[in-house]
């Protein structure tokens, strides 16, 4: 079949190095992946096309790029199912510096991974033989351990797009891999770092990383587990954790969300500058009748009792993080 690859090209050495799309028309086999198509372009049409790849079997993590706007492994994405009117668009990953064409600089990615100290930190004397971990205790680590460091999640992270200080999905999933490891005993330090600016609370839960991860690591879910571990460890509250608590309290109490109180409690009742700064917005909303009745004026929903019952039942439900919680708990005892 005849297909068109619209490839975003960038050559830092060109007279005009502005990145722009170039159209390549090739004859593709039905089994072709996007990477097969790019390799064909490189081999038969334009040898200057820069593409990074190695295994061609979605395990080395070299070939992440944006296909039709979203990060993916080019070698795991079928060409035939990526076509819109016979064409596919291919761009380098986002959030990272483009070296040339589809090749991005991985230093931001590795810097973040390094920052979470991705190695076991056990305490006490070294065992005679290996560190033993039970099978069950490692089960919750299977997903984060599946990460092949391709950077797809970092490419499409909507927080990193506006704040490069954020550790980002890959590094946080990696952090969870050690927080959740029964042999690691640096949880107290790890969690308190993750509780800071740039850590677990900076995720906006947009789900993009979960969607683009080619290995089912679901980084955002790991970030949520880190938040749970942080809260169980009793670390100082943050806007993020207060938001979670206020949200839950409000729903448990009235069956629905008290948005006004949520804002006040998240920022902190005594965060006068922030509350003052948002006063004009609040007043405008009030004048236009759009300020939800908050605090004592927030009414219970009919059936709030049933919601309360759900909350009570959840409190006694076993947590998926029970193992982690008890471990980080003991580290603080």
């Amino acid at each position: 079949m005849q297909v068109t690859l619209n490839v975003k090209r960038y050559d830092p050495e060109a007279a005009d190095p502005t990145a722009c799309f170039e159209e390549f028309r090739i004859e593709a086999e039905s089994h072709f992946t996007v990477l097969d198509g790019l390799i064909k372009v490189r081999e038969e049409v334009d040898p200057s096309l820069a593409v990074r790849c190695s295994c061609r079997a979605s395990i080395c993590g070299s070939c992440a790029m944006r296909v039709n706007g979203h990060a993916a492994l080019a070698c795991k994405t079928k060409l035939s199912t990526s076509l819109h009117d016979g064409a596919v668009s291919v761009e380098p990953m986002g959030n990272q510096r483009v070296v040339k064409d589809l090749v991005t600089d991985a230093s931001l990615f590795w810097g973040k991974i390094r920052a979470v100290e991705p190695f076991l930190q056990p305490k006490g004397p070294e065992p005679e033989e290996e560190y033993i971990a039970s099978n069950d205790a490692m089960l919750n680590l299977i997903t984060p351990m599946g990460c092949i460091m391709c950077g797809a999640c970092v490419s499409d992270c909507t927080v990193l797009e506006v704040d490069k200080n954020f550790l980002g999905p890959a590094a946080l999933a990696k952090a969870y891999r050690f927080v959740g490891d029964p042999r690691d005993e640096a949880d107290a330090d790890r969690l308190s770092t993750l509780n800071e600016y740039g850590g677990a609370w900076d995720c906006t839960r947009c789900y993009e990383c979960v969607q683009v991860c080619p290995k089912g690591v679901a980084p955002m879910d790991r970030i949520m587990e880190l938040r749970e571990a942080i809260q169980r460890a009793g670390l100082p509250s943050t806007i993020g954790s207060r938001h979670v608590d206020s949200f839950a309290r409000s729903v448990a109490r009235s069956g629905w969300l008290d948005e006004t109180l949520l804002a006040v409690e998240s920022w902190g009742k005594f965060n006068v500058p922030k509350l003052m700064a948002s006063a004009p917005v609040g007043i405008r909303a009030l004048v236009r009748g759009k300020l939800p009745k908050g605090g004592p004026l927030h009414h219970k929903r009919p059936g709030a009792k049933n919601v309360e019952r759900i909350f009570r039942r959840l409190e006694h439900a076993p947590s998926t993080l029970a193992a982690v919680a008890s471990k980080s708990g003991s580290a603080h005892d």
Partner: protein, 106 residues
């Protein structure tokens, strides 16, 4: 094997005249593959030339014309040195320590 050896020789001659189409200095895979191809041809020649010299069968090196192993003459390493663009094959003695060599039979 002799035919393959000739073919590699021919490819090496063609390779010597092969231009690199892309002249960029940044992430130039055209250049990288060009260099790698040269090394691959060297490796292919080494395998082929060593196989021709080694008149026995041993492990993955299997010759239909000499299917037997010959420890008497060939319990030796093969060495290859690039000389005037071709592989010069030699041998070195094997130091045997704990594990005695024996035939692999299943």
């Amino acid at each position: 094997m002799a035919a393959a050896h000739d073919k590699i020789k021919e490819l090496k001659e063609r390779y010597a005249k092969l231009p690199v189409a892309h002249k960029g200095a940044v992430y130039n895979t055209d250049l990288i593959f060009h260099i790698e191809l040269g090394y691959m041809l060297d490796a292919a020649e080494t395998i082929c030339a060593s196989g021709l010299v080694r008149k026995e069968s041993r492990g993955a090196h299997y010759r239909r014309d000499i299917p037997q192993r010959n420890d008497e003459e060939w319990l030796r390493h093969t060495t290859a040195v690039l000389e005037d663009g071709a592989a010069r094959i030699g041998t070195l003695p094997v130091t045997i320590t704990e594990w005695q060599p024996e035939a692999r039979v299943y």
